[in-house]
Symmetry: C2
Subunit: 397 residues, 2 copies
């Protein structure tokens, strides 16, 4: 018999994917350049040439059976060392190879982090608005994801709601800053207060509440924005990183888990990741890609376009009367819809070939997400459509 829980999932289709498919289909009718597709968070800028050169160099200079040979289950030693050295240099924490586990993207990293610290029935808290894939990521481990309602003024943490939801069953708290879908970066004040609560509650419950920090947007931070390193605030932090966004290679599935060196049992935790891998068929990211990212750790794709796009959209949205927290990073913006039902709002927008995603999907009804990882020229053209959409549907005149 096929396992029912996976069979049941087949009928539920992701709203984001449905919208993206709509955009593709509509593109076939009117030309994709005329569809203002803000649905998918797929990096649009080229991969740095240095990365490609590094791959070519590896392919032409290394002995093939070594280059493509098995990686140790924790990752290639020299790669783990390079990642640790880079993190230490940038964030001032004494990372060593022993704290690094190479993983297949952020999804792979999170799959290990959840299994490190939760058993079936345990709870993981995250904060709305949140990346909807967190739901299957956690629930399919047997643990339970609970979502703390948003602070809709700032999209920082709603601490009152958070404290009310903490309990003896909560083993981990999951955060994502810079945030998908809000684009907001958690402030020092937010992170310090979060750490205080976690320390206090860990002591009260007699067990560590781990902080799992999902950081795929760490390198996409806009000018003048302070993006503090989460691990500096709380010892028991498990950082989950992906190179997907910073190097524009989401298809290559490369990232890592970095356990805070100050975390109790940090080394054991990394070794345990190697055991977890055996149960989930992980077995390391590809050797070739590990070796290539090790040479480009402090490099990023040319990410400026995201800030350019953000400014264009933010200014226009404000001018049109939207309430909107200004993004500090990522390639997302998350304004309040102009009617209570964001789904109805986004449905109407489709008539203007504006593909927006209702906030319900992210645990924040009444808002909508725009993923502006598209050409600036298209963003510019979309502004007129946005204006017409608002005027024809929500103008008070």
């Amino acid at each position: 018999m096929l396992v029912q829980k996976y069979k049941d999932m087949l009928s539920g289709k992701s709203v984001i994917r449905q919208l993206s498919e709509f955009a593709t289909a509509r593109g076939k009718e009117i030309g994709y350049e005329n569809v203002f597709d803000y649905s998918l968070g797929n990096p649009s800028v080229p991969v740095p040439q240095t990365f490609t050169n590094e791959m070519m160099k590896l392919l032409t200079t290394r002995e093939s059976s070594v280059l493509h040979g098995y990686s140790p289950s924790l990752g290639i030693t020299s790669v783990r060392e390079a990642v640790a050295a880079s993190l230490e240099r940038r964030f001032g924490l004494p990372y060593r190879r022993e704290h690094i586990f190479m993983a297949s993207g952020a999804a792979g990293a999170l799959a290990h982090a959840f299994r490190l610290v939760t058993e079936p029935g345990d709870e993981v808290l995250c904060f709305a608005p949140f990346f909807p894939e967190y739901r299957p990521y956690v629930d399919l481990t047997g643990a339970v994801l609970k979502v703390v309602p948003p602070d809709t003024e700032s999209f920082q943490i709603n601490f009152e709601a958070f404290e009310a939801m903490l309990s003896q069953k909560v083993m981990a708290v999951l955060i994502n800053t810079p945030n998908n879908p809000s684009g907001v970066v958690y402030s020092r004040e937010t992170l310090a207060r979060l750490a205080d609560v976690l320390k206090r509650k860990s002591a009260e419950y007699g067990h560590t509440i781990y902080l799992i920090s999902d950081e795929p947007y760490r390198e996409i931070v806009f000018e003048g924005v302070d993006a503090p390193c989460v691990s500096q605030f709380y010892d028991n932090t498990i950082m989950c990183y992906s190179f997907s966004k910073s190097l524009s290679l989401p298809g290559e599935r490369i990232g890592y888990v970095a356990v805070n060196p100050a975390c109790e049992d940090a080394e054991d935790m990394v070794n345990m990741c190697g055991q977890i891998s055996r149960g989930i068929g992980h077995n390391c990211p590809p050797s070739l890609i590990q070796l290539a990212v090790a040479e480009t750790l402090e490099l990023t794709a040319d990410l400026k376009v995201y800030e350019t796009n953000m400014k264009l959209l933010y200014e226009k949205l404000v001018k049109l009367g939207f309430t909107c927290v200004k993004p500090g990073g990522t390639f997302y913006i998350f304004p309040r819809a102009l009617e209570e039902d964001a789904k109805a709002f986004c449905d109407k927008a489709l008539k203007y070939d504006l593909v927006l995603v209702p906030g319900d999907t992210f645990g924040a009804p009444g808002f909508f997400r725009m993923a502006y990882c598209i050409e600036t020229e298209k963003v510019e053209r979309s502004l007129a459509a946005l204006e017409r959409f608002v005027e024809e549907n929500y103008s008070r005149g």
Copy 2:
């Protein structure tokens, strides 16, 4: 609190890995060329130049943000189509894209297969001798792996023991042909009889017993050996394939699940794999590597060396008085040790710098494995050591 089951696993170290580490350490003392390291099943022949050329071509001709972009969760469509067409051409079953799920190596493929058809508490049967990683692969899903004792005469299936172990709780049977560690290829007779038992028992229990066929050694079959396609014998077969051995790139983590087109719910099963991925952080093998293997599907590395090595070893072993089933493929051979305790036997061999793995690890005490994926020149030099080892320890004179 860290999850105890993974913490507990840290103390148990794989025998194969321990022996491999011994070989490396001994190599530092006497030169690795003087250690006859038969411990690890790591392909030793170069990757085909065509594969490398294909990678270079992709890197130089494709737009980088598309090349390295997200793969659909079931795999890149054109790649799935190419795999299906190749399987159809070779094995005559009507495979289509809908039957193919691209996975991160055989480990990734198996992780999906087990979750498709077993719930916690269900049983999976496999046949000794077996690849020891099957134990954590299955047990960490919550299902239970049970091992059918070997037919030590032929290393085909011990049907009497198998039938005795089948029960209402058995949801899947896992086979591996050509086999690690025995090198044996299951005959048509074995596969036909296996299919008969599975059909009969499925009807008796009122649920399908799926056949999970782990086929990483499919392309390493020696001259004159008939290696039948498992899926041709039983409709409810889930084929798990890896390119690791055929193309010599175990580090690149690329393989697939191919559900038999005749399998009930075949399409649903592939779609379910996409859901399973969300829970285990799988998210597809790397785009670049998917695209490169699609161009080299019916190509292999130059695998002749394995047969050359097998012949050298088999002849010598027989001459020295070993009982040994002649391998039909793979790069393993699995003779009976010359004393009952294969561990003691392998310990003594270490004094001759012969690194052999006791069969206990594979569920077949009294035997030992030699992984002859090493240079032929080294195999030749090892024969004298083997002879001295036998003469000085087991000679009747």
